[in-house]
């Protein structure tokens, strides 16, 4: 991987502003996950023990293999991804620094929102339909035990209604809200502030995914 690694350095530094250090770390991790293979498959990710408790594990792993998250205008999904793709997905979560300009922050925020949106929009049609959203919420709440499917459904419905009523305040009687488009998604999450997302970075280790997606992104 020596060759591509150096290439990726450049790519990484130029396009993702991910530091060399971080790329090295990620590459190490990539090799560890793939078992020193060139590519990584879904099973590799599914086998990460720490992920076992994550209710939306399926969606997140799916996002890694989603071509839409590769910044190329392709749809569909990969069977396996190489390090470049892996890095590309990871780069959605790079932290802003003091030097990041307001504009860059805005783009980063948009990227993250796009990532989330793609995660929910399973059929690639540019809208999150109610079925899709329900499914997502159901999955999200599936680990919390007490909330049954019905309640999850109700929550999804209510959330959908919120989007509908915010974005289309005056619906004609025959109108029909078919789903959340990305614009609506952006609109409704505009005010979303990640409370508490401004924590301290743990003092040990290099952290790529800083959690401050927050102040700029959420």
């Amino acid at each position: 991987m020596g060759v591509s690694l150096s290439l990726i350095h450049i790519v990484g530094i130029c396009f993702f502003s991910v530091s060399v250090e971080q790329i090295k770390n990620l590459h190490k991790r990539f090799e560890q996950l793939s078992g020193n293979e060139e590519t990584i498959s879904r099973e590799n990710l599914e086998n990460i023990p720490a992920l076992a408790n994550n209710p939306i594990r399926r969606q997140i792993i799916g996002a890694f293999f989603d071509k839409r998250n590769q910044h190329q205008n392709e749809v569909g999904s990969f069977e396996e991804i190489g390090f470049e793709q892996f890095l590309m997905v990871m780069s959605h979560f790079r932290p802003p620094t003091l030097k990041t300009t307001e504009e860059e922050r805005e783009t980063m925020r948009k990227e993250k929102l796009r990532f989330l949106f793609n995660m929910h929009d399973t059929d690639n049609d540019g809208t999150i339909t109610l079925e899709e959203y329900r499914k997502a919420v159901e999955e999200l709440l599936s680990k919390s035990g007490a909330i049954g499917q019905e309640a999850a459904k109700a929550i999804a419905d209510a959330a959908m209604l919120e989007v509908a009523s915010t974005n289309v305040p005056h619906m004609a009687p025959d109108d029909f809200y078919e789903g959340i488009t990305f614009e609506h998604f952006e609109q409704i999450l505009k005010g979303l502030k990640k409370e508490s997302r401004l924590g301290d970075q743990p003092l040990e280790g290099v952290v790529l995914v800083k959690e401050c997606l927050c102040c700029c992104c959420f």
């Binding site: 991790r29 560890q32 996950l33 990710l45 990460i48 992920l51 994550n54 939306i56 997140i60 979560f93 990532f115 989330l116 109610l130 999200l140 709440l141 919390s144 007490a146 909330i147 049954g148 019905e150 309640a151 929550i155 999804a156 419905d157 209510a158 959330a159 959908m160 209604l161 919120e162 509908a164 009523s165 915010t166 289309v168 305040p169 619906m171 009687p173 025959d174 029909f176 809200y177 409704i188 999450l189 005010g191 502030k193 409370e195 508490s196 997302r197 401004l198 924590g199 301290d200 970075q201 743990p202 003092l203 280790g205 952290v207 790529l208 995914v209 959690e211 401050c212 997606l213 959420f218």
Partner: protein
């Protein structure tokens, strides 16, 4: 307040005289004037009243408080009061004594701060807060003490009898930023939450630190300079950590105790809020007794227990705790500021030394800035989101000193520190300067620097859901990238907490309903319900129409769809009830009101008459004996909740019935049954008891009915023609889960765009639907239990409700397994 402590001892002796059996009286006095008998408590009460009134007057002038913070105004008010007292007595009788301050005024403020602490935010920024609180405070103390000492040596302040250790002692008492002052000022400025939590958290924790430092240096001063060697210093440092962490740990233990205790206070609900205060106070006193940090102890007690007690206690108790907490804290805060003002008007404490005072002021400001900037610089190298320059300025400028410093200064021992009075007056000057001057300038500064303000955002469900999604994404990304980061830690902690702490400390009944998204959902539903009722009341009628412009069509059509779409239930019921089920196949809801704006006005008069009539007819009679029963242990015994609720529900039902028959010429409708009929059958062995027990429930059914009306009205309009989404998010009554006790009709509550899909999926599984009992109900169900138990109410109820029962007999519906949940309660209350 109890600043009168110094005279209380004299009073007590006098009191003894007065209350003793006077041997010298000549005749039986009819009335006697016994001022001294009541003097102390009377004065305390008077002072509280005066302070309260002062706050009232100050708060009445909003244009003033917009410019000058309330705390500054209260201090000024204290000046005036103090002047008056001084003018009358020629001596300041009332000053803030350390005992009063530390034992009676401070604890509740700190407990309040801990209890309302935004935990996630607090622990998320714990590292920064700790660094500011510990290192920052030590830095402030050391730098101030050393610089003053240096200036002293340099001859800047004349002839003073203060040694290095005493300077350090003074520095340590001046070091801490005061939480009371900080909250008072920052609350009005609304800076962004991270900045707020940094300043606020720091001020809370460094109070603990400063008290510890103070004690250590106090001990050093007592030892005297010559006795101090390396061992003593190391001991001092060790004691610092033991005191601070011991105090925190003790608070944690007490927090767990409170949580455990509230697990089993179900039967003494009326005093359960008391436990929080008593145990919190005990945490404070215990720490004080063990010479641990009392402030840290009570902070952590509040922080730890908040989640569990809020979940464990009844909703009413929680509001009681919240309000009482606020009353106490706010009251104490007011008292503290007023007495800070009063204390100034005392000739005996004022010693002026320009050099000392001005240099102290200067050093405090300068070193605060230096400390904050330096520590932030270090922190920013490790923080994910660096603290910006402007935020640093505000943090530094927000270093207000307050009553803690004053309390400590008064505690100084005059024998050991000759210049105690100079220190007190300097402390007072610093406090006045920071609270008044910096307090006033803070707001313009924040505006001028364009500090990021706290965004006031409305709670929306989708945001919460997406937040949660994003949390999980972050954790997953960390997992995948193999780092152990902040998210990872939090996730693991949450998992542990969920699994063990909640298990140990929460009632089983509430444990499950603690999901965050769900609680938002719950809150939104509550809000909807409240606005719904409020709207109904505003319109001056018992009917609840949500939207002025939206007319409500209660279409029969809906009913048809309903029965068609629900062969399942029908089949169920026919199994259970045989022939009776045929009748149920009739259009079920028959809430066939066509109420349009125009017709409604005319209707209202008749309706009002009807309502009045029905109220008279159906109100409980002959139950007066319950009305004036007084109970110490039950709050609402005088207005039996069930009764009120039943009255409300029955009125609603009857009104709607008569309304309908009057307008439409339709026969009174049948109540819709919204319960799955399967499982209850066994519980009701014979028809007789069936009917009877049914009547107990009728209240609830009726209520549901009325709720169902509006719901179905909404639905029907949705099903006949797509609804118009005119509501604001959050206020949306169209929120499909608005009625938690949804019945089989619920499916139709689905927004129009999924009508078709819903009708299939939802309708066939009505029993599931009916079982959607939202998790927060259990606590409320308890309150409804008496329905079954109270025999009296049944009798009267049976009589009054004869027609209703009759009607329901026809349907032969078994009663629901459990009375429907809470909105009925609340809404009943609104009536």
């Amino acid at each position: 307040v109890v600043a009168v402590c110094n005279i209380s001892s004299q009073n007590r002796t006098r009191m003894g005289l007065n209350t003793g059996h006077g041997s010298s009286i000549k005749e039986v006095p009819i009335v006697t004037f016994k001022w001294h008998h009541v003097e102390t408590p009377y004065l305390i009460a008077l002072w509280i009243l005066v302070a309260g009134l002062a706050k009232m007057v100050i708060e009445a002038n909003h244009h003033v408080t917009n410019v000058i913070p309330e705390s500054a105004l209260l201090i000024c008010f204290g000046f005036i009061l103090g002047g008056m007292v001084w003018g009358a007595d020629k001596v300041q009788t009332f000053t803030l004594t350390p005992t009063v301050f530390f034992f009676y005024l401070l604890p509740q403020i700190i407990l309040d701060a801990g209890y309302f602490m935004p935990n996630k935010l607090f622990f998320g920024n714990m590292g920064a807060i700790l660094i500011y609180a510990i290192i920052g405070t030590c830095w402030n103390a050391a730098s101030l003490g050393l610089s003053l000492w240096g200036c002293h040596k340099g001859g800047a302040m004349g002839d003073l009898d203060i040694g290095l250790l005493q300077y350090l002692l003074f520095g340590s008492l001046m070091a801490a930023v005061d939480p009371v002052a900080v909250i008072a000022v920052f609350e009005q400025v609304h800076v962004n939450e991270v900045l707020f939590i940094l300043v606020f958290g720091e001020s809370l924790l460094n109070d603990g630190v400063t008290v510890v430092l103070f004690n250590v240096f106090d001990a050093f001063v007592s030892l005297g300079g010559s006795q101090i060697d390396a061992v003593e210093i190391i001991k001092g440092i060790i004691s610092f950590f033991v005191v601070a962490f011991g105090g925190s740990l003790l608070g944690f233990v007490f927090g767990l105790l409170v949580s455990l205790l509230t697990r089993c206070t179900k039967n003494i609900q009326i005093i359960e809020p008391g436990f929080i205060f008593v145990l919190g106070y005990l945490a404070y006193l215990t720490a004080e007794m063990l010479s641990l940090s009392a402030i840290l102890s009570i902070v952590f007690c509040g922080v730890c227990c908040q989640k569990y007690i809020n979940a464990n206690m009844d909703e009413k108790s929680v509001s009681t705790v919240r309000y009482t907490m606020k009353v106490l804290a706010n009251g104490s805060e007011t008292m503290i500021f007023v007495f800070l003002g009063i204390s100034a008007i005392d000739k005996t404490i004022w010693v002026w030394n320009t050099g000392f005072i001005l240099l102290t002021l200067l050093f405090i400001m300068v070193y605060r800035f230096i400390g904050v900037f330096f520590l932030t610089w270090i922190l920013n190298r490790y923080r994910l989101v660096p603290i910006g320059f402007i935020d640093q300025v505000i943090m530094s400028y927000g270093g207000l000193r307050g009553a803690v410093a004053y309390g400590l200064a008064v505690m100084l021992d005059e024998n050991k520190i000759k210049e105690k009075n100079l220190m007190i007056s300097t402390t007072l000057i610093v406090v006045y300067f920071t609270v008044i001057f910096q307090g006033i300038t803070m707001k313009p500064l924040v505006t001028w620097l364009k500090v990021k303000r706290a965004a006031v955002t409305e709670l929306t469900l989708i945001e919460k859901v997406q937040n949660k999604v994003f949390d999980h994404v972050l954790v997953a990304i960390e997992d995948i990238s193999g780092q152990i980061g902040h998210n990872y830690m939090r996730d693991k902690w949450n998992y542990f907490e969920e699994k063990w702490m909640s298990w140990a400390l929460m009632k089983p009944s509430v444990r499950k309903s603690r999901d965050h998204v769900f609680s938002v959902f719950h809150q939104l539903n509550l809000k909807d319900a409240m606005s719904y009722v409020a709207e109904g009341e505003r319109r001056g009628s018992l009917e609840f129409i949500r939207n002025e412009s939206a007319f409500i069509d209660f279409k029969k059509k809906f009913g048809d769809e309903f029965s068609e779409a629900m062969p399942d239930i029908m089949a169920n019921m026919s199994d259970d009830h045989g022939a009776a089920s045929d009748r149920r196949r009739d259009p079920v809801p028959s809430v066939s009101l066509e109420m349009h704006e125009q017709t409604m006005k005319g209707m209202r008069e008749t309706e009002d008459i009807n309502t009045h009539h029905l109220l008279q007819q159906h109100l409980y009679k002959g139950r007066k004996q319950h009305r004036h029963r007084y109970s110490r242990s039950h709050f609402d015994v005088n207005k039996d909740e069930n009764e009120v609720q039943e009255i409300f529900q029955r009125t609603m039902r009857s009104r709607l019935e008569s309304f309908k028959s009057a307008k439409m010429g339709v026969a009174p409708p049948k109540t819709i049954s919204k319960y799955s009929k399967k499982d209850q059958q066994q519980k009701m062995p014979n028809g007789k008891s069936l009917d009877r027990s049914k009547s107990y429930y009728s209240g609830d059914e009726d209520f549901e009915f009325s709720e169902g009306d509006s719901a179905s009205g909404y639905d029907a309009s949705g099903s006949t023609f797509p609804m118009r989404v005119t509501y604001r998010a959050g206020a949306g009554i169209e929120n499909p889960a608005f009625m938690p006790d949804m019945d089989p009709m619920t499916p139709i509550q689905i927004p129009p765009w999924l009508m078709e899909a819903e009708l299939d999926s939802g309708m066939v599984a009505p029993s599931q639907r009916a079982q959607v009992r939202l998790p927060w109900t259990p606590s409320n169900l308890r309150r409804l239990a008496p329905f079954r138990a109270s025999a009296q109410s049944n009798d009267s109820f049976m009589l009054a409700d004869a027609p209703a029962t009759q009607q329901r007999d026809d349907e032969e519906l078994p009663p629901p397994p459990s009375p429907p949940p809470p909105p009925s309660n609340r809404d009943g209350g609104y009536m």
